[in-house]
């Protein structure tokens, strides 16, 4: 009886506290001149080890921008919302954050599943989506996808660069005829998005594909790798993310598949996947979306000096400069530079609206000089977007794990736009036909 009274009392206190506490912060929120960048994080869930450095890099670069004086004086504001890589939580975070602090400038969901869901909504809500290196590959066609920006790369670029590298290693595309390439992929829209390009190349050059889907979250791969041991493909391409990658590599070690013949895409080759395995994973390759692990880059050194040294770092210091951290920095840089481009057109010194920011992302012109000045010398190549091309750059390079760190094992490779552009266009048009969207008019491109 007494316990019930205590429990009832506790509930009443909690409810009253809740009402008091939730009204207070609403009044305390400042609404000054800020450019709001929401951050959808995956700090928990199946991709936590990989998505956490990305979120930290994103937040740290935004802090650096503020230290450098903001975007022509306008400070950036980052608010995080945890999605745990789940589509419904991502959608809920999006709905909650899109109108805050004067309107979210851009969303970077870091999840293909969430991107697919949000693609439906952003056209109505008029806010951009940057999906660098993931999401819908056909969203590079800006004539159909007005609000999606797969800046600096998508999965078809990754697949093409990997296959070009493999072909180069073998001595030419004709040497691939008759070879067998296995694709171990996450059984979800993320994993399946790689398949069209590898199937296209396989049809053209005569190598066979062995498609091996792995059900999410990807910790059960014994069956898949036993098949690999049986079939002995010449190469294995991996489209994995999060814990699935390290599981795959461990299984490959268990069936003694040579790591030199394994090629991950850019979400499947970072330190969290490999550092626990260490020397046994030596020789594992991954294609990188321009940047890799960049501890020597000027921007990284600046972050260490101006953000971490002042105790403002978002995550642990030894993460700074790692592959996924740098990807977060690059993502933040693209977000900020788009807003800056929009400010150059619509008025410097004041925050840009989400629609104006969209114009900025569609008219990005990051020359090598600009990138070097921002601290990205040697990390990135020029990016130039337009109405019809929302990708802006299609370069990649391969890095290899040497047991304790990554080293570059290829030159800059450019994905073959002759093959990819028609695929993007036809896929985008198929989507538009289903959704009854029409291609944008030239006047719309000028706005």
């Amino acid at each position: 009886m007494r316990f019930k009274k205590i429990a009832l009392g506790a509930c009443l206190v909690a409810v009253s506290l809740a009402t008091v506490v939730t009204t207070a912060p609403a009044m305390a929120q400042a609404s000054g001149k800020v450019q709001f960048f929401p951050s959808l994080t995956g700090r928990t869930g199946p991709v936590a080890p990989n998505a956490t450095p990305f979120a930290n890099g994103y937040a740290d670069y935004m802090k650096l921008v503020n230290v450098r004086g903001g975007i022509n004086g306008v400070m950036t504001l980052v608010e995080e919302c945890e999605t745990a890589y789940a589509t419904d939580r991502g959608v809920e975070c999006y709905e909650r954050l899109k109108g805050k602090h004067g309107g979210a400038t851009v969303f970077q969901p870091l999840s293909t599943g969430i991107t697919f869901a949000l693609t439906e909504k952003v056209a109505n809500d008029k806010v951009s989506l940057i999906t660098s290196g993931y999401g819908r590959s056909d969203s590079a066609d800006g004539g159909i996808f007005k609000w999606n920006f797969p800046l600096i790369g998508h999965y078809w670029v990754a697949g093409d660069v990997v296959l070009q590298h493999i072909a180069k290693q073998e001595g030419g595309w004709d040497r691939l005829k008759g070879k067998k390439i296995a694709v171990v992929y996450h059984d979800s829209p993320f994993g399946k998005e790689l398949l069209p390009i590898v199937q296209e190349r396989a049809a053209t050059h005569g190598f066979t594909l062995q498609l091996l889907p792995v059900p999410a979250p990807g910790v059960e791969q014994k069956a898949v790798w036993l098949q690999v041991r049986q079939q002995r493909p010449d190469m294995v391409i991996m489209q994995t993310w999060g814990v699935m990658t390290s599981t795959a590599i461990r299984e490959a070690i268990a069936v003694d598949y040579p790591r030199e013949k394994m090629f991950g895409t850019w979400w499947s080759g970072a330190e969290p996947d490999l550092k626990d395995i260490g020397a046994s994973a030596k020789g594992y390759n991954a294609v990188m979306m321009q940047h890799g692990a960049e501890p020597q880059a000027a921007v990284i050194k600046e972050i260490l000096e101006k953000v971490h040294a002042k105790g403002q770092g978002t995550g642990p210091k030894d993460e700074v400069g790692q592959v996924l951290y740098v990807r977060g920095v690059v993502g933040a840089m693209l977000a900020v530079e788009g807003a800056r481009a929009a400010q150059d057109r619509f008025g410097k010194g004041k925050p840009v609206s989400p629609e104006q920011a969209r114009w900025g992302y569609e008219n990005l012109n990051l020359t090598q000089t600009k990138l070097d000045a921002l601290g990205f010398k040697g990390v990135m190549r020029p990016v130039s977007t337009s109405c019809s091309d929302h990708m802006g750059s299609s370069y990649g390079r391969i890095h290899t794990w040497d047991g304790s760190k990554f080293t570059w094992s290829s030159d800059w490779l450019q994905a073959d736009e002759q093959i990819i552009r028609p695929m993007v266009k036809s896929s985008a048009e198929k989507y538009a036909a289903e959704k009854k969207w029409t291609r944008r008019t030239p006047q719309d491109c000028q706005s």
């Binding site: 809740a18 589509t87 293909t112 599943g113 697919f116 693609t119 999410a216």
Partner: protein, 269 residues
């Protein structure tokens, strides 16, 4: 199925597509309900769990269902009802509210009617029910049929009106467990309980998400987003255990007890 109805038939009205989706779910539900004629209780729960994995496999592997989409993810846009285009979250809410009210009323009527009494009789003691002339097969399969229809319509609404796109992972086993917990926590055998259970499972994590940083600020502790996510799980799990101990008949029972006590004081009538 709703997606297929939309995509393959030009100009399919929204309600018809939703109902078609519900009908297909009903057929599948009846098919997987057949084991209920032989097994009961926990064993039946496990047998029907097979439906989860079978459907997952079917939608991943058989391309016809996703209209040969290369990514396996499908979406419909431009949902409209008699010229009223539904794209605002408020409009979506109203649409779902209207459908939910209608279906809840129909369900309540079913429960109060003859078929509902048959279900209750089978639930309480199926041998005795068979003795007094209730056909077990009809009652059990109709229970599966009605609940599958409702869940089919709900799934179509959730996938297309709320999320916007559908992928197999969105309907994973975690989702099935969530639905099971909604019913258990809300109170089995009660329509009101379903609403309570759903509110608990859906709203509580969001409320915690908003509340925890605010409470943390009060005591001067910054709560990181990862910590909020972990805390959600912990508090949520603890509450589920507490509810099951304190009131095994669920929130609906707590609500009816609350009503009784409130009628004594301060709202006697």
């Amino acid at each position: 199925m709703t997606y297929n109805a939309f995509v393959r038939v030009e100009g399919m009205p929204l309600i018809v597509a939703l109902l078609l989706g519900g009908l297909c779910a009903m057929l599948v539900g009846v098919l997987f309900g057949i084991p209920s004629l032989r097994v009961k209780g926990l064993y039946l729960a496990v047998a029907t769990l097979a439906a989860q994995f079978f459907c997952d496999w079917v939608f991943s592997r058989i391309d016809w269902f996703t209209n040969n989409s290369s990514s396996g993810s499908v979406a419909v846009s431009g949902l409209s009802l008699l010229g009223w285009v539904i794209d605002d979250p408020n409009e979506k809410y109203l649409f779902c509210l209207a459908l939910t009210s209608i279906i809840a009323l129909l369900a309540k009527n079913l429960v109060r009617g003859a078929i509902g009494r048959e279900w209750m009789a089978i639930r309480d003691m199926d041998v005795a029910a068979a003795v007094i002339g209730i056909r077990p097969m009809y009652a059990k399969l109709s229970a599966f049929a009605v609940s599958s229809f409702i869940i089919g319509v709900a799934g179509a609404l959730w996938g297309f009106v709320h999320l916007g796109s559908w992928e197999p992972a969105a309907f994973s086993i975690d989702r099935s467990f969530q639905l099971l917990f909604m019913v258990i926590i809300g109170g089995m055998g009660s329509i009101m309980g379903c609403f309570f259970g759903a509110a608990f499972i859906v709203v509580l994590p969001i409320a915690l998400n908003q509340l925890l940083p605010a409470v943390g600020q009060l005591v001067g502790v910054t709560v990181s987003t990862a910590m909020i996510s972990h805390a959600e799980y912990m508090i949520f799990g603890a509450l589920i255990v507490w509810f099951l101990i304190a009131e095994p008949h669920g929130l609906a029972k707590l609500w009816s007890i609350g009503k009784q006590k409130l009628r004594l004081w301060p709202f006697p009538h």
